[in-house]
């Protein structure tokens, strides 16, 4: 099929096809298309040479630049740690009292604390650390296991009733469900416990109920909550005389607590948070308590 006919206007040859006198031109691909095709091909070839690209049986071409995302991220994490090392070293080595006395370190704690708290603790304890039903408020002076920085840091490390081998463990028995106390005895204890924290509510509660409740309390509850009902941080038993309640301080909730028992869980953060992170968080929480009345 030798087609030698040329279009007189454009100078291009025709395909030899004709429809009602209209002939199809065989216009060549514009040079610019070839240009970009060649440029992209050259880019691809140089990319193969510079970057990890081709599989070779059991290994692959690593590329001249030696770029590896895992190395890159490790280096950037290390670099960031190095940038912070001026103050992180001091927080790691100095005691809590020394750090609290150093305004520049506490300022670093106040800057990094909220991010650490937000990423790890806020889900349960709330963005403002004020907790919720079943999740303790961390801005008060009431701490189940002690509120000094070392105790807080230890609690973060081991967790409470967690799977960690050193976990803090505590459980309030189900006095009602397990038949240790009768319903009317629990009612009396509820009256007594409520009278401890709200003196104003006391007159409304029958004095005889409170007295009876006190007797039951002395027989059953003082082992953990101690004689004066102030709790025991060694056992994780809460103070019942303050206004801080984890599950609620109304009569119904207190009844449910005594009836069904309680056993809160805090996971262990050992392995997830470093010693430095835990120290920052402990200091941040103590500091938060100081600024929030």
């Amino acid at each position: 099929m030798a087609i030698e006919e040329r279009d007189p206007i454009t100078g291009y040859s025709t395909t030899g096809h004709e429809w009602n006198g209209i002939k199809e031109l065989n216009t060549p691909v514009p040079r610019v298309i070839y240009f970009f095709l060649i440029v992209t091909a050259l880019f691809a070839v140089s990319y193969w040479i510079l970057m990890p690209a081709w599989p070779l049986g059991v290994t692959y071409t690593k590329g001249l630049l030696g770029i590896d995302q895992r190395k890159t991220v490790n280096e950037s994490v290390k670099l960031a740690a190095l940038e912070r090392s001026a103050w992180t070293k001091r927080i790691e080595t100095e005691t809590f009292t020394q750090i609290q006395a150093a305004p520049e370190l506490m300022s670093a704690v106040r800057q990094t604390g909220p991010a650490l708290f937000g990423d790890n603790c806020a889900a349960c304890h709330g963005a403002t650390a004020q907790g919720g039903k079943g999740f303790p408020n961390l801005t008060t002076t009431a701490w189940l296991w002690g509120g000094d920085p070392q105790a807080i840091s230890d609690t973060i490390r081991t967790g409470i009733n967690s799977t960690h081998k050193d976990s803090r463990t505590s459980q309030m028995m189900a006095f009602g469900r397990d038949g240790l106390l009768k319903k009317d005895e629990i009612d009396n204890v509820v009256a007594y416990v409520r009278s401890l924290s709200s003196a104003s509510a006391a007159p409304a509660l029958a004095a005889t109920k409170i007295a009876a409740g006190k007797a039951v309390f002395t027989a059953n509850c003082v082992a953990c909550h101690s004689d004066n009902a102030k709790g025991n941080t060694e056992l994780g038993a809460p103070d019942l005389t303050d206004h801080v309640w984890i599950y609620g301080g109304d009569a119904e909730t207190i009844f449910m607590t005594i009836w069904g028992g309680r056993q809160g869980h805090m996971p262990s953060w050992d392995g997830r948070l470093s010693t430095l992170d835990r120290k920052i968080l402990a200091l941040y929480l103590v500091d938060l308590r100081r600024v929030t009345p």
Partner: protein, 243 residues
């Protein structure tokens, strides 16, 4: 040079071979890396399999479309590593059929969620996310705790997963339904079977707080509490991986 195509398209067989050649490049590029799979997927001898209850939870996770808003893949970026923990490794998804890496994060990444929060938190949160995270836009899943888990077909799920390479034993498949019940019912004879078949490290708890009452909530919380916990490979120093 540009005349090659002109000549080629006039030879049927030659042109056909050229089409086959060019079309197979795409396939080759996707298949060839699989031959270097040992360089891509790390070894994790400590890797354990999902229990039947966790598989049931995973199926609920897929059914409810959790993957549409939550990824399970921590990328090799500094901010992700500092927020979520070590970046995800391929081996961690070895038994995921299908994988749930996801591509969008309306909520946070869940690859290292396991054991981060308590069961009580998950139950409260799934019941109504606003109870614990006031600004959350996640829908509530309060019916999960009221819906009994269908567990009679879990053996078939395990058998299907074994066909695609998950090392479930005949014993595991035969006892799947009993094990699903046992994992959420501690201190029963069923629970002992779970520990015996799946290892001491398996979480055996009343996940929804009500032992002996097997709900979809139990299954989903059991699954969420194992995310990132099947192997410790990602927590090892990087030098030890892939070399």
């Amino acid at each position: 040079m540009f005349g090659i195509h002109y000549r080629l398209e006039r030879k049927t067989i030659g042109f056909l071979l050229a089409i086959v050649g060019v079309a197979s490049i795409g396939g080759a590029v996707e298949i060839a890396p699989l031959f270097t799979i040992h360089q891509t997927v790390e070894d994790a001898p400590d890797m354990r399999v999902y229990t039947p209850l966790e598989i049931a939870g995973r199926n609920i996770y897929i059914r409810e479309g959790c993957y549409a808003c939550h990824s399970q893949m921590i990328r090799t970026l500094r901010d992700e590593v500092e927020r979520y923990g070590p970046y995800s490794l391929a081996v961690e998804s070895k038994y995921d059929h299908p994988m749930l890496w996801g591509s969008k994060r309306t909520g946070p990444d869940l690859a290292r969620l396991g054991a981060k929060y308590s069961d009580e938190w998950h139950v409260t949160h799934l019941n109504n996310p606003r109870d614990v995270v006031p600004q959350s836009v996640m829908p509530h899943y309060s019916w999960l705790g009221r819906t009994a888990l269908r567990s009679d077909d879990l053996g078939a799920h395990l058998a299907a997963l074994r066909k695609v390479g998950v090392p479930y034993t005949d014993d595991m498949i035969a006892n799947a339904t009993a094990d699903a019940y046992g994992q959420a019912a501690p201190d029963t004879s069923y629970a002992e079977g779970v520990t015996k078949r799946y290892g001491e490290a398996t979480n055996v708890r009343a996940f929804d707080g009500r032992p002996g009452n097997l709900t979809e909530l139990d299954a989903l919380v059991a699954y969420l509490q194992i995310l990132g916990k099947l192997t410790d490979a990602a927590h090892k120093p990087v030098a030890a991986i892939g070399d």
